[in-house]
């Protein structure tokens, strides 16, 4: 028995198909929701998301603002990238600050060196309420985590901002249905079907600008929790820890105190695409301390309203 491909119809290249699907979702949510916002951390996924949003509405300006949930523990290179990108696009930037949530007593300050990762959910939900946003676009991908693999493209949040994985709305065909009642909101994930490799291939194809820390560079690092952390204001050597200089890059960009660098000489987009296509460890496994708490760490945080 032989199997011959029946290519009677030219199918789309996978990057064109993914780009088209994401643009469709962006337009659909922008049309159906009253006050959408695009969550922009300055990381590669949200950079791709913003790039797609610009394409989807060009030559008009973006029909929604972008919001950065600022933990105050960012890499400076990422903040620079955020600001130059927003300025280049003439986008409206809303900054929701975890420090403000701490000052208002909404969350407890974990101290100058403690992680503020989990506190972001409160800041995010407060900002969504304050601005009356009914939809928030995020750059999350289903290949990142097993809980995300289960999430709909339009993910419904109740008036407490919670995700209920056992009662998700059926999501049929491309009939994305964005109606919510007052106080409820949606998270929309146009990059759901993209993998890390797709994202890098797309960045290379589109010659996109990115924060410099994604490319290999020399940096002072220290070993903690089996990760290379960048020494700086948010990571100070503890007793017994020694620092060294290494050529590294970041595969993901989160808070400086819980995002590890990987040893790499990939200093061009082509080299990064090659590195990612041959990687043995997932991006979160390699670099994110925040996902290591338990086998359902992401599900638990998402139930609370996390990205």
């Amino acid at each position: 028995m032989t199997v011959t491909p029946l290519r009677t119809h030219p199918s789309l290249d996978h990057l064109d198909a993914l780009e088209s699907q994401a643009m469709f979702i962006l337009r659909e949510v922008a049309a159906e929701c009253e006050r959408p916002v695009l969550l922009f951390s300055g990381g590669k996924d949200s950079a791709v998301l913003l790039h797609l949003a610009v394409k989807a509405f060009s030559p008009q300006r973006l029909p929604f603002p972008v919001m950065h949930v600022d933990t105050g523990q960012n890499f400076p290179e990422v903040l620079e990238f955020r600001d130059r990108t927003v300025e280049r696009l003439g986008a409206r930037l809303v900054v929701a600050s975890v420090q403000d949530s701490i000052d208002k007593g909404r969350v407890v300050d974990p101290g100058p060196l403690g992680s503020r990762n989990r506190l972001q959910s409160v800041t995010l939900l407060d900002a969504i309420t304050e601005h009356g946003f009914d939809a928030a676009f995020g750059g999350a991908r289903r290949d990142e985590d097993k809980a995300r693999a289960k999430e709909r493209i339009l993910s419904f949040r109740n008036s407490f901002g919670q995700w209920d994985p056992r009662a998700q709305r059926p999501e049929l065909w491309q009939l994305y249905q964005g109606r919510v009642n007052h106080g409820e909101h949606l998270r929309a994930f146009p990059l759901s079907d993209w993998t890390e490799l797709d994202v890098w291939q797309y960045i290379e194809r589109e010659r996109m600008d990115l924060p410099s820390i994604y490319f290999a560079h020399r940096r002072e690092v220290l070993r903690r929790d089996s990760m290379w952390l960048a020494v700086g204001p948010h990571v100070v050597p503890r007793e017994g820890e020694t620092t060294e200089w290494k050529t590294v890059r970041f595969r993901t960009v989160g808070d400086a105190n819980c995002t590890g660098a990987v040893e790499s000489s990939a200093d061009t987009l082509a080299a990064i695409v090659h590195e990612v296509s041959t990687a043995n460890v997932s991006e979160r496994g390699a670099t994110r301390a925040d996902d290591r708490f338990s086998e359902t760490a992401m599900e638990d945080r998402k139930r609370e309203g996390y990205f």
Binding site: D13, A56, P59
Partner: protein
Amino acid sequence: MDLLRLATIGSVDDGKSTLIGRLLVDTRQLFDDQLDAVVHASQKRGVGDLDLSFVTDGLRAEREQGITIDVAYRYAATPTRKFIIADCPGHVQYTRNMATGASTADLALVVVDVSHGLKEQTRRHLVIAALLGVRSLVVAVNKMDSVNWSPTAYQGVVDEVDTIAAELGFSSHLCVPVSALYGDNVVDPSTESPWYDGPTVLAALEAADAGVWESASAARLPIQWVLRQDGGGRTYAGMMNGGTLSVGDTLTLLPAGVTTTVTAIRSGTGERDDAVAGLSVDVALAEDTDAGRGDLLAIAPLPRVTREIDATICWFGDAPLEAGHRLRVKHTTRTTPARVASLDGVIDIGTLNVEATNELSTNEIGLARLATADALAVDDYRDNRVTGSFVLIDEVTNATVAAGMVGRASFLA
């Protein structure tokens, strides 16, 4: 590289999640740390060293109960093709999640336990997949190791599959004898089945046709958004479906019925001469029109413009659906109030008979006539999956309570 969307079908315990896990592990789609996490979770729950189903069953409740509740999306790629795998739940109460996975699938990957044959649940899901327009099947006849790789046992399942595939009108189907647990014939050919000269599951998926479905009707472009261009003028943005659209084509704007010509097509990558199904584009038209979101641009033969739709309905609501019920319908990019004008029967999944009924309960599939407030431009679902489909929305909770397909499948008695 192109893209194939597939959904998995299989009864509880036939090894569906294990097969997907095996596909991912053997094509090296899983990273070492993800594999370590699966091993760790398996040992913690005392189910052996490596329970491959833990690769896809990611929710706490799923691991605790050992079942799949919701669709898990997984991604695999070979040098020629990227796969989007919707791993669908098997239990009856999660039928709506199975429909979610099947609605976008080009192909169904079916898993059947060789010693049990086609179970009721699998048959039910094949019917739902057929109703939702999945046209092609790859059937993994699993647990061949449990019958000592008996060709006779395998042939028994093949005969059953041949019968149901003919009955439900699938355009192609292919059976592969496998052991998902040991990896035989999943990615690597097995030495246990010298009597089988067909492809492995992966080879069959790589050879299957992708995306042909969409080209059954002429070009359709539901308008999502009107883009104001610099220096005046407008373009109309949306995702193409049906046949190819080219610059110079004559289009009809529906429901208005105005005829015009395409003067330019733009996509994410710039100006182009034509656009195929699945591409997000915006088009410029020769004539000034008042086209807006919810309208449809179409090439003849045109869809019907109507306020009455006879449709097949998969009902997901908690309370039963009855005639007279008011809902909202979302069809392409238009949402409008609708009423169930009549309920014309419920489908018996076992016999495929349509029986008279006064209501549709949760997870039942039936036939109904809808009356809509606005006119809709519809094709039969079997001609066009986009202009032939809709969802019904509860007016109070805004929940999606039904999937609807224009017309009825020919296999229904």
